[in-house]
């Protein structure tokens, strides 16, 4: 369309809430929202690091804050979002990687298996 005055009473499709109109876009926005939770988690770790640098008492106060029901609830929601990020990350990986002589499903499965394995290894190591 060329620039210039729009036609009188031209219809402009409203874009407000566009992503709620289609489940595919809702999933897209949920994936993008995972960034909010991941950023908040990184800042939580940075905050803990800052408290640790102030000494054991300050660090224990940070840990006490993280043990409140609100903090645990927020971490549970964040876990859901970041796990969804991991799922979507490996689902698009066949398209984001350079072409590999592998079926797309194998690449996704390998990524998800790597996350599962690392999760189990960390938990087994800390037990």
């Amino acid at each position: 369309m060329s620039a210039g005055r729009p036609a009188p009473r031209a219809y402009v499709r409203p874009m407000r809430g566009w992503w709620r109109r289609n489940p595919y876009f809702v999933r897209y926005m949920l994936r993008e929202a995972s960034a909010l939770w991941l950023t908040a988690y990184a800042l939580t770790l940075l905050w803990g690091l800052w408290r640790l640098s102030q000494g054991p008492a300050a660090y224990e106060a940070w840990r006490a804050t993280l043990a409140t029901p609100l903090a645990i609830g927020l971490h549970a929601v964040g876990l859901g979002f970041v796990a969804y990020h991991a799922w979507t990350w490996f689902r698009v990986m066949p398209k984001t990687l350079p072409p590999l002589p592998l079926p797309a499903r194998a690449i996704t499965a390998a990524g998800l298996a790597a996350t599962g394995l690392l999760t189990l290894l960390v938990l087994a190591w800390l037990r």
Binding site: L43, L45, G111
Partner: protein, 115 residues
């Protein structure tokens, strides 16, 4: 033609996305849920243990990389979500979002060096 900075931020976004896809869930589970609830030994994250672990330079580098890449990944995505939410283009927005990630990286580096 002016060269774009996008490839740098895209690489940081990709690295943070991969790291958080592999380790994000288990880290949040351990530090945010399992240890605070006592499913794992509370001593796992005690100050003494953490300081002993962070005495090793590689552990410090790992924690720095974790915080930094999570921040760059998250801030890159949030920056591009502004358009999806219908917010007008603002020329300082990249400075704000990538600046926040850079500041968090520098703060983490300074704190890790001071430990």
């Amino acid at each position: 033609m002016k060269r774009s900075h996008e490839p740098v931020f895209w690489a940081l976004f990709g690295a943070g996305g991969m790291l958080s896809a592999l380790l994000g869930p288990v880290l949040i589970l351990v530090t945010g849920i399992a240890v605070p609830l006592g499913w794992l030994d509370p001593d796992t994250l005690s100050a003494v243990r953490l300081q002993a672990a962070l005495a090793h330079p590689l552990a410090r580098l790992g924690l720095l990389g974790l915080i930094s890449l999570f921040m760059f990944h998250g801030c890159h995505r949030l920056l591009h979500s502004l358009h999806d939410l219908g917010l007008p283009r603002w020329r300082w927005a990249p400075w704000l979002f990538y600046g926040a990630a850079l500041l968090a990286t520098l703060a983490a580096a300074a704190l890790l060096l001071s430990l």
